[in-house]
């Protein structure tokens, strides 16, 4: 039995299985990659949430300064991306919970769920921002 090495075990030449660059992109693989990428983006995004909460706890001047910065165009793009990442990861997670029960694992079901995840996340993000601007009376 070969023993797994945790420290620098890459000395012997092992055969490599084909990796990402070999395959044409498929929707299920793109959704799998996006699930991990959105998860990592949300990790960094907590800094933004923490900043906003601290601004609210600090006082009116600092809160207004932060709100002003968040209303600039680059930050608006970041915030739309943040909400999309959150909703996409949420729907992707629901897909994974379904798979955990052993359902939805047929290839055509996997592809359909992948497209639903993408379409659903875009629709929910649009709904969120429509709601935001509707409450502001800007629609």
């Amino acid at each position: 039995m070969s023993k797994a090495k945790s420290e620098g075990g890459g000395h012997c030449e092992r055969p490599l299985s084909p990796h990402l660059q070999i395959y044409a992109p498929l929707i299920n693989m793109v959704m799998s990659i996006l699930h991990r990428l959105t998860g990592a983006a949300l990790y960094a995004g907590t800094l933004l949430l923490a900043w906003w909460l601290i601004a609210a706890a600090t006082g009116p001047e600092y809160y207004r300064l932060v709100q002003g910065l968040l209303a600039t165009w680059p930050m608006k793009v970041v915030l739309v991306g943040y909400t999309w990442a959150l909703l996409h990861h949420m729907l992707g997670g629901m897909r994974h919970l379904l798979w955990d029960t052993g359902r939805g694992l047929q290839l055509h079901q996997v592809d359909m769920l992948s497209w639903l995840t993408l379409g659903g996340s875009i629709a929910l993000t649009a709904l969120f921002w429509l709601g935001h601007y509707a409450v502001r009376g800007a629609l």
């Binding site: 990592a40 907590t46 909460l53 601290i54 706890a57 949420m90």
Partner: protein
Amino acid sequence: MMRTPLKTVRRLGSAKEGSDHFWRQRLTAVANLILIPLLLLLIVGMSSADYSEVRRSLAHPVVAVVLVLTLLASLTHMRLGMQTIIEDYVHRDRHKVPLLMLNTFFAVFIGAICIWAVLKLSFGA
């Protein structure tokens, strides 16, 4: 007597945590499915609020409790997820171990400052 690597996977396995990582990832995922939509509704609801209204909303007991629960569930979830990413891509212990430590420090630090903010909004002057 025949010895096989089975002995390392029996009971809690070689990492001595069994399915704990998997279970907590799913538990916090389901918690987030309830909590994150509430957070998004709260944010949409506060879209036109000025500072004093935002403060009052965030200091409401239900909102404050939901915020703390959301922070605990989502920060635990993202810490577990980032642990998996690190373990997938970083194989040398001298890089992996510090990164796994930093991962926990980051989640705990964000949790501490956010919960401090929620408590100050609830109980602060």
